[in-house]
């Protein structure tokens, strides 16, 4: 059902092809983002500057979404992490300039209707990403050698 609504929204809100890709990868579905989705988005950060800004704007929106949409936030962190490794250098600059967006997610809170703490994964992911963004040398090395970070940004299997 959510999939149908999303594709209707994609049309009525006039989202571009690039924006739709990011929206799908960071949706409320209980799976994903897949490795294929992330690698395609990362590759698109090298395209035109319009593509780049559309990707970052959409990730930014997702990162600042409300608690109920915690999957948006968690997936956006995963996609950002992936793009920091495989995407263009502009992603690194953008993320460093706007590090407070990620940093302030380290205390993200959301308890769902069944009393489950859905914020935990976000807090952990935000802590890891903040540490990475503050460590230039580590980020540079990980951008050169993808083996060292691959398990961290592997696709989310199930929520």
């Amino acid at each position: 059902m959510s999939k149908v609504i999303r594709s209707v929204k994609n049309v009525t809100k006039g989202y571009s092809n690039t924006q739709v890709k990011v929206r799908n990868a960071t949706s409320n579905d209980a799976w994903g983002p897949t490795g294929a989705e992330m690698s395609e988005i990362a590759r698109m950060t090298f395209d035109t500057s319009q593509d780049f800004f559309e990707i970052m704007d959409m990730l930014d929106k997702r990162l600042n979404d409300k608690g109920k949409n915690w999957r948006h936030v968690l997936k956006a962190l995963k996609v950002l992490d992936y793009c920091l490794h495989e995407g263009s250098e502009h992603v690194v600059v953008w993320a460093k300039d706007n590090i407070y967006i990620v940093k302030t997610l380290r205390e993200f809170q959301y308890i769902d209707e069944e009393g489950r703490d859905q914020g935990l994964n976000i807090r952990v992911a935000a802590r890891e990403l903040t540490a990475l963004l503050l460590d230039d040398e580590r980020l540079r090395n990980e951008r050169k050698d993808r083996k060292s970070w691959k398990n961290r940004v592997a696709g989310i299997e199930d929520h």
Binding site: D60, N64, G67, H90, D97, Y100, T104, L105, Q109, L120
Partner: protein, 278 residues
């Protein structure tokens, strides 16, 4: 540029709503999402002017819970907001002090002493930052500051001393918070004031550890530094106890990582690495 694409016209009215919700009269923690929005606002605008304006129009003095939540919110925004927030806060010290004047005695729900102590602490913190503008609100480690102070041992001595005074103030405040827990009720609102205190005390601890090690290394004057070592050891033991007590509060441990300090203070004379970040 690579700055975020922010709708500046909307963000001002959103900020007012966020401040209002963060400081409402419900006896809970100030909601993180609203506090976060205030913090993000100061970064997007590189200014906290609207935050203070928005705070001052809220009826926070009418209710002790609202006053206490406002103080927690202010503390968090000062800690995590854009560095200009810390500078701009200096102009509002008088207003922060005025928040305690309406309180008579303990208050119906017992927040009176906590409000007074929070105000006292924030005044001390802002005073520290006025004298030491090189520190950010959370005392996050920056190598150059310890190097700078090491070059001038007198300045270093004074800075460490001032940091330790602030650490003592955090310690008295946290003790008061624990002493004011109430049986049979959810203490979330009180406990949430411990979050910024844990973070700040650990930032100070790391800083002081690094600076004292560097000063021992470069001056080689162990005797002159012995008063600071003694004070450091005392503070270490108090921090261990503080973090131990925090580790029993589920609300706290689910939210932040409580630092795991060794029982005994680390040697300041050795070349051991500083304690790792939690």
């Amino acid at each position: 540029g690579t700055t975020r694409n922010v709708d500046m016209s909307r963000s001002e009215s959103d900020l007012t709503i966020n401040i209002k919700k963060a400081t409402n009269a419900e006896e809970t923690a100030p909601k993180r999402k609203h506090v976060r929005s205030c913090i993000v606002y100061t970064w997007d605008h590189k200014s906290s002017t609207s935050f203070w304006t928005g705070m001052k129009v809220q009826p926070i003095m009418a209710d002790e819970v609202q006053t206490f939540k406002a103080l927690i919110t202010i503390h968090k925004v000062i800690q995590e907001g854009h560095i200009n927030t810390l500078k701009e806060a200096q102009a509002h010290v008088g207003w922060i002090e005025s928040l305690g004047r309406g309180m008579i005695g303990d208050g119906l729900r017992g927040y009176g002493p906590l409000i007074k102590e929070y105000i006292h602490f924030l005044r001390a913190k802002l005073q520290f930052h006025r004298h030491h503008p090189e520190f950010n609100g959370l005392f996050e480690y920056k190598e150059y500051i310890s190097l700078k102070s090491v070059n001038d041992p007198n300045e270093g001595y004074e800075t460490v001393s001032d940091l330790m005074t602030l650490q003592d103030q955090i310690d008295s405040f946290q003790k008061l918070v624990f002493a004011h827990f109430r049986h049979g009720v959810n203490n979330e609102c009180r406990i949430s004031s411990l979050v910024p205190l844990v973070q700040e005390s650990y930032g100070i601890y790391r800083f002081v550890t690094n600076m004292l090690r560097a000063m021992h290394r470069t001056t080689g004057d162990d005797e002159a530094l012995s008063p600071l070592r003694e004070r450091y050891n005392g503070q270490h033991h108090r921090l261990v106890r503080f973090y131990y007590e925090c580790s029993n509060l589920r609300y706290l441990t689910s939210l932040i990582t409580i630092p795991d300090l060794p029982q005994d203070p680390p040697s300041l004379l050795s070349e051991d690495d500083a304690p790792a970040l939690p």
